[in-house]
Symmetry: C2
Subunit: 274 residues, 2 copies
C-alpha cells in the first residue's frame, strides 16, 4: 500500500488507529481457548468487530512464534483473512528484524513476499546494510525503531553521542539516506511524546508508528498535538486495551467498543489539529 | 548447556567451530532440492558429515522464515534432529530478536521452551528490559549483538558517545549489569578482530560468538590471538564456506572436509595460545 492510499483510508475512517494482535492464549476467553485454531478464531472475531474503526493491524510475531509451527500457521491465516476480507487494512508485521545484508534480504522475502505484509518493524543497530534490503519492494515499508516506548530506551537510544545528539536522532538522520517518506516509517513510543516536536523537525513528512498508548500509559492527545502532519503521519497502536477489553462471551463486542472510543477521539483530534 | 559442559566439549573435540545453517534453497544440490523436505534433508546430511568437527550449530531463522510455515517446520525438525542424535552440540537460534519486556518473554518461550535451543541472538537497541526476559532460563544463553561483522556496524555501533567510548562498548558495560559469563555471550565479528584486545579488557570471561570468518573475510588466527581466554571463550562461526563447499552429489563430504580443515586450525591455535 502506498502513502496516498493509507492517508485516504485515514481520512475516510477518521481514524489513525492500528490494532496490535498480540494474542496471549492465557488471556483469551475460555470458549475460544478450547477451539483447535483458538488464536486464529480469536483474531477473526476481534478483526470483524474492530475493522471499521482502524486502518491497520499489527500482529507481533513473538506471540505466534512462541507456539512454533502452529503459531506461524495462525499468523499466516490471520494475515490471509485480513487481506481477503478487509483489503484496505495496512498490515504491519511487528518482528523487529535486522541482520547482515544477505540475511535481511531473506527476512524481506519472508514478510513481504511470503506473508504479504505491507510493512515490517526493523531494529537499526546493525546499520544501513541491515535495513536497505527491505527497501527494494515497491509499496512496502520499513518501520525503523527510533525511540521506543519502554523505559530501557534510555539505556542506548537516549545516550548522547560525541556530537551532542542522542543516538535515536542519529538513527533518524542516518536513515534518511537509506529511504524516504514513501517507504520508511519510524517507531516512536507514545511515552516519548514530549520529544515528538523535535522528532518532527528531522522527519516532518514520515509516518510514525506509535505504540504505548493504553496499557503503557501514553497520551493520545499529546501524540496527536506534536505528531500529526499534513497527511496525518501517525499510526497509533493499541493492543491489550482493545483485544483484552473483556474475556467473556462478548469479548469481540467489547473490543469493538474500545476501538470505537479511540476512533472517536482520533476523529476529534484530526479536526482539532488540521 | 552450561559453560563447563561447553568448554569440556571444546577441549575434547579440539574445536570451537560453530556451523551456520543458513540454507538457501537456490544453493543446494539439485538431487536434494527435488525432495519434499529438501531443507531438512540438506541440513541432516551436512550435520551428519560435520558434527565431529564442531561444537555448535547456528540456524539463522531468516533462511527458514522466508518459506513461511514449511520453513519453520524444517527449522524445528533440524533442531530436533541435532538434539536427538548429537546432544552434545550447542544450538544457537540466530534470530536477532528483542522487544519490550512482555514480548521478549514470548520470544524466550519460543526459542528456549518450544524450540529447545540453547541460545538466542538478541539485538540490544531497546535496552535492559528487552534482554532480561531471556535471562530467566537456567543453562540458556543470550548472545547479545555487540560489534557485528558487517561494514555498516560503523553507522551506530562505532559511533562515539559523549563520554568518548563507542556505543558497542557502552552496550558491553551496560549489559554486564543484566547477566554474567554463565548466561550471556556477545557477537563480535571476525572482521573486527583488531578490537578484540580492547573488548577482552571489558569482558575477559565471556564467550564470544564470532561470525565473519570465511565468506566475509575475517582471520581465524587473529580472532584466536586476541579472543581466546582460559576457557576458550570463542565460538567461531562459518556458514557458507562449509555448507556450500560443493553442490554436487558429494556436497556433504565436501562440507565435512571444510569443517575438518577449520577444526585442525583450531586445534593448532588452542595449543599455540594456551
Amino acid at each position: 500500500m502506498n502513502k496516498q492510499t493509507l492517508f485516504k483510508n485515514i481520512e475516510q475512517k477518521q481514524s489513525f488507529l492500528c490494532i496490535g494482535l498480540d494474542v496471549d492464549i492465557e488471556k483469551i476467553p475460555a470458549h475460544i481457548k478450547q477451539l483447535p485454531d483458538a488464536i486464529f478464531q480469536f483474531n477473526k472475531a476481534i478483526i470483524d468487530a474492530t475493522h471499521t474503526y482502524c486502518v491497520a493491524y499489527k500482529p507481533n510475531t513473538a506471540f505466534y512464534e512462541c507456539y512454533g509451527v502452529s503459531g506461524w500457521q495462525a499468523l499466516q491465516q490471520t494475515i490471509d483473512y485480513i487481506k481477503q476480507n478487509y483489503p484496505d487494512q495496512f498490515i504491519i508485521a511487528d518482528a523487529k528484524r535486522g541482520d547482515i545484508g544477505n540475511t535481511s534480504a531473506m527476512y524481506a522475502q519472508a514478510f513481504f513476499k511470503h506473508m504479504q505484509a505491507d510493512a515490517v518493524t526493523v531494529a537499526p543497530y546493525m546499520g544501513a546494510d541491515s535495513v536497505k534490503p527491505f527497501l527494494n519492494f515497491s509499496d512496502k515499508w520499513v518501520v525503523l525503531l527510533a525511540l521506543t516506548s519502554n523505559s530501557s530506551a534510555a539505556d542506548f537510544q537516549l545516550q548522547t553521542l560525541a556530537d551532542t545528539q542522542p543516538l535515536y536522532k542519529h538513527v533518524l538522520h542516518q536513515s534518511l539516506q537509506w529511504g524516504n517518506a514513501d517507504n520508511m516509517m519510524y517507531v516512536v513510543g507514545a511515552t516519548q511524546a514530549p520529544l515528538l516536536a523535535e522528532i518532527r523537525k528531522i522527519i516532518p513528512q514520515h509516518f510514525l508508528l506509535v505504540p504505548g498508548v493504553g496499557a503503557q500509559g501514553g497520551s493520545l492527545a499529546e501524540v496527536a498535538q506534536y505528531g500529526l502532519n499534513s497527511s496525518c503521519g501517525l499510526l497509533v497502536n493499541a493492543s491489550r486495551s482493545i483485544i483484552y477489553a473483556s474475556n467473556d462471551l462478548s469479548f469481540a463486542k467489547a473490543a469493538g467498543r474500545e476501538a470505537q472510543k479511540m476512533q472517536l477521539e482520533m476523529a476529534y483530534l484530526l479536526q482539532k489539529f488540521s
